[in-house]
Symmetry: C2
Subunit: 192 residues, 2 copies
DNA sequence: GTCTATAGCGCGATAGAC
DNA sequence: GTCTATCGCGCTATAGAC
């Protein structure tokens, strides 16, 4: 079927709007116009805005984790895994007319607007990604494609921070090209 | 005098609130309660919210640039300059009960809520900081405290991205301690 | 320069018909 | 499941007294 579930279409629109404008910069009215149904119909699927944000976070986190797992378990060098991982973030920035950012990066900025459940999901996103990056780095240390690191966990936290911050900086100024440059520099520093 | 200009007190309160909640998470009502004067009085000093945001960005950018200039021109090693620079961001996170982030990092996230003048100020912040980091790196390459880099500009962009992203990631999960770890790892990678 | 009062609008959310 | 209609609230902003 070419048709998509209404709930899914709402989440798609919400994700796109939040990635470019933020949680508090997006309204049910915006969603209504984007999806093509009325505000009340959105409330039927997601009674409150917090309900919607939590559903969105859950979907994003699971999709992202699965995609990254596929990379981690692929039969390529650790360095190649890391490159593909960075390309995931790169894709976020390139999609759409104005620069978008990682959904979780945006939600961390506006974390004060989330409930406890949302904050926990954000923390799990950070935790999961950090562990997955650690796996990639250890893989690269084992096959010799990445330089030996004292603390893979500290490196992983740095990688995640650089990618999240890189999306922000790049979308304000230099665009995808600047993000590429940052990623290349990061990989280069981890190779020597 | 222990008393402070009202305009300054408003900007102080606005900066604090925006650094923790974001542009769209802060209202004139919040400011009113924080400063201790009525909403209408805030409007007397800053007619529109965009006026206030622009004044705030201008002040922040100039103050920050001056502080960094003092570091760049100090008679210490390039590596020490970079460490002090990172400590500026570190200070932001540590101040206040809940984790705050760089004012410009937050505003980049919500850049869709700024006018053209505000966007330009953000870009200048990024440009200025990048140039200043380049100066620190070149200083460190000259005195041998930092490893030789092919492209100091690409490294500088990576440093800024890592610090901005590090503030975000750290305030969602590990706090100042995690930010320290990221900074140490960054310096370590630039030293070898 | 600060106040009270209020305009005007958009927001999240709900009731009830179809 | 989608609609029309509406509620109640908080927002930015303004008018005018003191």
């Amino acid at each position: 079927m070419g048709t998509t579930d209404t709930k899914t279409r709402i989440l798609d629109a919400a994700q796109c709007l939040i990635q470019s404008r933020g949680i508090n910069g997006m309204s049910y009215q915006d969603l209504s116009e984007s999806v093509g149904i009325r505000k009340a119909s959105i409330h039927h699927h997601f009674p409150s805005k917090l309900d919607m944000l939590n559903a969105l976070l859950q979907r994003y986190q699971h999709e992202f984790a699965d995609t990254v797992d596929a990379i981690v378990q692929s039969k390529i060098t650790g360095k190649s895994k890391l490159k593909r991982y960075c390309a995931l973030f790169q894709g976020t920035l390139a999609t759409g007319e104005d620069g978008k950012t990682c959904l979780c990066g945006m939600m961390i900025a506006e974390i004060a607007s989330l409930d406890d459940s949302g904050v926990q999901k954000i923390r799990q996103f950070v935790r999961t990604n950090t562990q997955q990056i650690v796996a990639m780095i250890e893989s690269g240390m084992a096959d010799g494609s990445l330089a030996t690191q004292k603390s893979p966990k500290a490196v992983a936290e740095l990688v995640l921070a650089t990618l999240e911050g890189g999306l922000m900086v790049a979308r304000s100024s230099g665009g995808p090209q600047q993000f590429d440059s940052i990623v290349n520099q990061l990989i280069s520093l981890l190779t020597r």
